[in-house]
Every structure is written in structure tokens, then in C-alpha cells.
Symmetry: C3
């Protein structure tokens, strides 16, 4: 944590009060895909905070407050001057650590003329950012490294979606895969997710495991394996709520006789609140079979179709909730298949309890 | 009232507090035209309540809460399975009485997994619904039956409009017909509505009567009667505020010499709040003269033109009111032609006073 | 002030409370360009007040409340009957002093059936209106007369823009011209505004003066003077915050050897709040050189390009401020070039302190 952040921390207050949100500030969140952050300005609202993202000339990802301290213009409407950002309104110029290094009248910039520089950790495929209370940054878990992503056996595809829904609606979506048979009946065609999975919670992580034995293999797995869709096959489908920011999921495809893993399939879901009713959804899907360029392009197409189906139903849920303020009082009914999702809600509550600054 | 409703009634609270609305919950309201409700799913917000409408295979109209108790998805995004509704998110399935009859994991649905089934009365051309406090349903007047609608001498046409205005703006519109000479000067061309009508209030109904003697007959009445527009003719124009949900109006055309009624013209206006600034406007217009298919098609065209003119001015009024919150304190000035409308406001106030649950 | 206004004044309350706005009601504001006000109805919201503007048959500008006291329809949806306005809903008709002169049923209009007539002062190019507390109208400064506008040596062009930003963002924009080098780098190409100007405050007016000696003359001045862009030249650029409603600015172009003024350039900026996040921006630009029709048309084109650049950045600032309610607590950092703008903020505060009616 830089001195700059220490000073800001003394007065840090969350942009949104705890009672008006269900996301924790003191957490690492994904700000963008590594592939999105270039040597040009990208402005995003993350957790109700204006964040400017760019890469320096030597490739370092930078995240600073996207609001000029002079007259509140978004710096993302300005331009890069080397590694510095020049405001597009009156030319105040900031270095990547948030300090104002020059103003047009050439007088010495006032000390107060600075923007907050947010700590950044890049671990491809993600650029992570911390916009919470600087005093707590050392107390929160570091971002998870995705081992499979750098494994040369794997090929992958990725995307980002701007979804008009609270981020928890996505997290619950990917923790209850019985929705496959309804939301994705015509796309993924995985229709055997019926039984509640085994669910395990350790500390602030909750995981699920579903084992399929001699189950007709859906085409999305069979075809790239060189099998006929419907071939009886074993598979283990498991996943974890890693943090409020990250969900991971995996399918291991297992040849039933030899019990050999013949294919590994990985999905990573990062949901970052824009505000309480909107999120960025960053996803990465990869596998170590069917890895040709053309096969991965097909994987991207089917994934986008499926994730649009999720977006469609999640946004419909959000509209119901947004339109019905008293809905907060209506207790939703949960069943066994919701176990992981219910655990996730409790974990989020524990994260929120730790937020002590109103 | 079903047991299901009795149980919900114990905890019934209105979705919107009494101070934030001017419409009563404990009242039968039109949910749709009979012709709109088919064996497919139709979701509507009525009185700030999500309502799912459909018809069973044997033709019964059903209205249930349009929000799955599991994860709040609108059931209208699901599909019908026979007479049951399957949620499009996780497959929870509900029967027309609101009970959950199956969930995908095949465990027994929890008792709490139910949606409210709203009492329905169908009397063509309308499907009526009661979304208020179940404890009061027996205390409110039943929907009015439109005798003329089933009279074979009559032919009619109908429509539904989604109007961005409080429902009372429509009710006041149809209770002060002096607007004909201004709003409809170029469409209906009824320009002799100038004097205040006779107004009579009995209990919670208010009625008006305007008698025209030897008055030039507007084309909208004259042409289907086979007369020249402008022919001197008698006519009685009368109407009633039947309930907050329903207005009826009638014109009897009377041959001046014989005093014989040669034509009967009927209009029914049902305005149902979507919320405090939006309504559905269901209208039915019929007559026992000029009843050929082509003549009724002409009637539909001219009615739609005229009612669009009403929508245009009513929405302009709403924009003024919505933009000026202090407007609530500004007392509007009423004159004699407003007598029926002013009575309607008082009747609505009495309906509201009976709403005891905050 | 008419009797009509005196009576209203007894009960005058501002449409928006003092704490929810930063604009004073007790001030003359520009309602429109003289060229906009014709013998037809023009409805505008000014200071959260609905205002109807038109010109009588003999050319007098009229401003009355744009809401019928009968059923709140905007009178601007009605029509003119001679110099009177007939409401498009039920035909209530008002004279230019706001009195209801007839209603369709021909009964005598109730005394309460009146709209407020706002005092108007027309001084081309502007029609000024006073919508504040009638009791204070004599205490506020009269609109400034623009002498140069009626000087036959000058030619001018003008425009009106509907800007989605608080009016103060425009005032601060035109009081800190260091933005020229960034916002208008590609349009006006005036890039030598770097140093803080001399700033003088007298009472509730603040003025700035910037003197350029032997500075390369930008094309926008040089070309219509018949000089090569970049010719070394002297120029004095000065301006004033005249009132919350009006800013004036001037450039005198001075031949360096003879010290003769060879060209006078004048800009008038009138910003009128629509509400706290929107304004009308009325601008007039004139000069006494390059006054041919074609040259003035060119001036209009380049001015519109430049002022659109201002609109673009100002609206971006407003979006940041609107999205961040806690922003109010964030103190913006000011430097020497902001001196005139900071003085303007203080002057506005003094105007606001004088508003005693909550």
C-alpha cells in the first residue's frame, strides 16, 4: 500500500452505505480481463466507484480514480501522455500513482490535487483491483491464481458482459446447476443435473460436487472428445465459491471402464458489481481437449448463447426485485439443490459484517 | 376464497402503502379482456402486483402471482405444462391454485413453495381479478355484468391501451365530456357538449345525464343510422362511475317526432392501475345499429383515434404532475361540469378510507 | 408587478426547496431568445416551473404558468385565440395577464381559475422572465442591456442548447478559459490561455482580464481580420459574471504598433436552470469585423462545434456528480486559474442566502 493510499485511508468512507448494498468493499474484485486493458484509457464504475484503467508503456496495469479532483471530469475522457493521464477539461496531469504532476498554468500543483491509486494485481486472465478501505487490504485474501489457465495443455476463450442485475444473482445462478435443464435446455443440452450435489463448506468457501456415472454424454463434451453425443460416460462436476468476486467450476470427463480422465473442462465466473443493480460478468472457459482454434471458436459461440440465456433470466429476476421494494421482506423458499447458494449468502453476510466503516 | 388465500391473508400487506397511492386494493379490477387470455402465459403488473394470467385447457381463466417463491423469477417467462406453470429458471411447477406440485430434484416441494392464487371472475368481455386483502373479498361489490354485451342486437369492438398516467385521470376524463369539443374536435366531432350535465350520486355511485333536443346529430351517430350528419335529432347521453375500476356510458338516439329510440350506443371504460403513474385502459364500444362487420371496423378505427387523443392529453397532465411534487398541495379549480368527477374523487376517498392495512 | 402577482406572492413557495438547488429564484433569467418567441405557444420548464411563452398579436412577449388550474394540463398543448390561450383539454381560456376569461359552459369563471403571469422584460436578443417571489422583484438587479448588440457596426449569430448539466457547470466553464487548450484544441485553436487572468470582484460581480502581447493570432480572429493565422498581435480578453443568469465576455484585437483596436469580439452566455441537472444555454456571439453574411455563417458553424465540445465535457462532469451523491462532500481542488469561478461560487452563495422562503 502506497503512502498515498495510507493518507486516503484515514478518511475512507464507502461510496454507498452498508445498508444499501450487499457487496463488500474490502475484497479484491476483477476490474477487467487482461486482454481488455491496453495502453489507452478505459473508464468503469466498479462498486459505485469511478475507476480508470490503462496499461503503462511497459505493460503495467494501472487503476486510478476516474474523477479529476479539480472539477470532477472523468479522466477517461482525457488522454495519455506517456504513462501519465491528462484531464480532457483543463489539462491537469496525473501519474500512475495518482499524483498531479502538472497543471496548465505551470504553477506547482496543490498537494490535495491527487486521485486515489487503487492497488492492482494482474494474474492473467484477470486484472484485479482493490477499491475498499486501505486499512484492511492486508486482511483480505489475495486473488486466486488459476493454475489451469497457464497450463499449455489447455486452450480457452473468454468474454465480458454488462448485466443489469445484482452480482449475487449470477453467483446463485452458477451454484445451482439444476437451471441447466430449463434455461439452457436448447443450448448446452445438459439435462441430467437433477439431484442436489454434495456440498461442503470450509471457512468462507463453499464447494459442490456432482458425480455422473454412465450418463449419456452431452454433445458439448462428447463432440470435442471425438465421441457420439449420448455415449455413456462418467463425469465429475464440481465448483467453489472462492470469494464474493470469484466462482470456479470444473468438469472432469472419465472413461467409465478405465476410470481415466480423458478431458478436463474449466469455467471461471467473475462478477463485479457496478452498483447494486448492475454487474460486469467476466467469464473464462477452457479445456484440455478439442483445443484447435476452430473448436475453441465453436466453444465461444455456444458459451455466449448460453450465458445470454442466463443474463436474460437474471435480468428478469432483477426487474421483479427492483419493482417490488417490499420484496426484501419476502423470504425466498430454498430446497436441497440450493445448498451451495444458501451457503454463499451466509458467507457474503460474514464478509459484510466485517465492513465496519459506515 | 380458497384456503390458500386465507392463509396468506393473515399476513397480507399491500405492496404499496396507502399514502403512496390513490387506488384501493380491496376491489375487483379488470385484469384483461376475455379475448386476451388464452392458453398461454401473460404477465402483467396490476396495482403494483405481479400477476400471471392464462386459461386452462378447459377454458378457465387463472390469475396467480407472477413471481416464483424459489428465486423470484417471473413465472410468465416459463411455460405451461398442461394446466400447470413451470418456472423457466429452475423448473418449479405450480398448479392453478398456486401450489407447487413438483421441483426438479423430485423431493417433496416445501409447503412454503406456493404462489398466491388470485380470485377470478370472468364475465365477457372482461376477466376480473381480486388482488387485495383476502379477508375483505366478501365485503366488496361484485363486478357489474354488462347486459348489453350479450344482447344479440348489439355489435361491438374493444381494445387495450397502456397509458402512462394515473388511472384517475382517465376516470375524470370520461366524467367530464366537455373535453369533446377540444380534445376530439377533429375526430368524434361532437361539439355540443357544453352545459353541465345533471349529476346524481347514490352511495358510492355517481351518474350523469345530458339531454340533447333537436341537436345536429354528429356523423359518428348519424352515418350508421343512415342519416345525414347534422340532421336535428334528440339524444340522451348518460353514464356512471360504477366502481374505481369501471365506468359505463350510453347514448340513446331518439327520433324527435315519435320519441322512439332508434339507436343505442354503449361505451365501457375499465382503468386498472399498473402503478401510481401507469394504467391499463380496457375499452369496449358497442351499438345496436350499424352493426355490419365493416361498420364496426370503422367504429374501431375512429374510437382508436379518439382514445389516442385522450391518452395524449392525459399523459401530458401526468408529466406535469409527476414533475412537480409540490403539485399535490395545489388545489385544482372545479366548475359545474366537473360535478361527476368531483363526486368520483370523494367516492375514491371513501374506498381508500376502508383500507385499514398499512 | 400586477395585482395578480401580489396576490400570489402572499403564498409563494419555491417549487424546489433551497437545500435541493443551487440557483436563486429571485433573479431575472433568460426564458428564450427574442427570435424564438413567436405568436405561437412554447412551453418550457425554467427553474422547475412550467412556463408558457408566446407573443401577442402586437408583438409583446408573454410568460404565464404552463399548467391549467382546472385539471393541470399544460396550456402549451392548447392554442391561441387572438392574444388569449385556450387549454387543449377543456377549453378554459386565459388572457396574457393570467386571468381565466371563459370556460366552455359559459358560466362565470371562478376567481381562483387563474394562472400566474410572470413579469417579462424583453431586450433583444433576450426575453427575460422573473418566476421568483413577487415580493422581492423590486430588490433584484434588472437585466443587463447588451449595448454592442444594437450597434450597427456589429453582426452576430446565436443559438440555444438543452444541456444535461447544472447551470453552474457552464458558468465555471466560461470563467476558466484554460480549458481552451484541451476542450477546444481542435476547434477554436486558441492555445495560449495558460496563465491565470487578473480577477476583480466588486459586490456581486466578478471580472477577469487576460492580456496577450505579440501573441500568434488564432485563425478564428485572424482570418476575418484579413490576417494570416499566427500573425503576432495584441489582444485583451475580458469578461464578467454579471448575475447568476448572465456571463459576458469580450476580446479586443489590437494592432501591436499603433495600439489601435482593429476588431471587437463579444460573447454572451445565458444559462437558465431547467432543474438542478439540466439547463438551457442561450448564446450570442458578435463582432464588428468580418461581418458579411457568409463570414457570420462560418462563425456560427465554428461556435456550434466549440460549444458542443463544452456540452460534451460538462455533461460528463454532471454524470459523475449525479452518480455519486456523496460527491457533495468531496471538496474540489482549485488553483489560480479558478479565481473567477471560485468568486462566482461565493456570489451564488450570497444570492442563495437572500432566499428566505423555504
Amino acid at each position: 500500500m502506497s503512502d498515498n493510499n495510507k493518507k486516503i485511508s484515514e478518511q475512507w468512507v464507502p461510496p454507498v452505505s452498508k445498508t444499501d448494498r450487499n457487496y463488500p468493499y474490502n475484497c479484491w474484485w476483477v476490474a477487467g480481463l487482461s486482454s481488455e486493458i491496453e495502453h489507452k484509457l478505459l473508464g468503469r464504475w466498479l462498486l459505485d466507484t469511478p475507476v480508470l484503467l490503462y496499461r503503462t508503456e511497459d505493460g503495467q496495469a494501472v487503476a486510478i480514480e476516474d474523477r479529476c479532483p479539480h472539477r470532477s471530469a472523468p479522466l477517461s475522457k482525457g488522454c495519455l501522455k506517456g504513462d501519465n493521464v491528462q484531464c480532457g477539461y483543463h489539462g491537469f496531469t496525473f501519474s500512475p500513482d495518482g499524483k498531479c504532476v502538472s497543471i496548465p498554468s505551470k504553477e506547482k500543483p496543490p498537494r490535495a490535487a491527487k486521485v486515489r491509486a487503487f492497488p492492482v494485481i494482474e494474474q492473467a486472465p484477470f486484472v484485479w483491483v482493490y477499491v475498499g478501505d486501505p486499512n484492511f487490504i492486508d486482511d483480505v485474501p489475495k486473488p486466486l491464481h488459476l493454475d489451469w489457465y497457464s497450463d499449455p495443455a489447455f486452450a480457452s476463450t473468454q468474454g465480458v458482459m454488462d448485466v443489469a442485475a445484482n452480482y449475487m444473482l449470477l453467483k446463485e445462478n452458477v451454484l445451482d446447476l439444476t437451471h441447466f435443464g430449463y434455461v439452457h435446455a436448447k443450448s448446452f443440452k445438459i439435462t441430467d443435473w437433477i439431484d442436489p450435489p454434495t456440498c461442503t463448506t470450509e471457512g468462507d468457501q463453499t464447494s459442490f460436487l456432482q458425480t455422473f456415472k454412465d450418463s449419456p454424454l452431452p454433445g458439448i463434451f462428447a463432440t470435442p472428445l471425438g465421441l457420439e453425443p449420448g455415449t455413456p460416460y462418467d463425469r465429475d462436476n464440481y465448483g467453489s465459491f472462492v470469494s464474493p468476486a470469484l466462482q470456479i467450476a470444473a468438469v472432469d470427463l472419465i472413461e467409465p471402464k478405465s476410470k481415466t480422465i480423458t478431458g478436463r473442462f474449466r469455467v471461471t465466473h467473475a462478477a463485479t458489481p457496478i452498483d447494486n443493480e448492475n454487474m460486469y460478468y467476466f467469464w473464462v472457459v477452457g479445456r484440455d481437449f478439442g483445443t484447435s482454434e476452430k473448436e475453441i471458436e465453436n466453444l465461444k459461440v455456444i458459451t455466449e448463447v448460453g450465458f445470454k440465456e442466463d443474463e436474460d433470466i437474471i435480468e428478469a429476476v432483477q426487474r421483479v426485485k427492483s419493482r417490488d421494494p417490499k420484496n426484501k421482506k419476502i423470504k425466498e423458499v430454498s430446497v436441497k439443490t440450493d445448498m451451495a447458494g444458501v451457503q454463499a449468502r451466509r458467507i457474503i453476510e460474514r464478509w459484510m459484517e466485517k465492513e465496519t466503516v459506515e
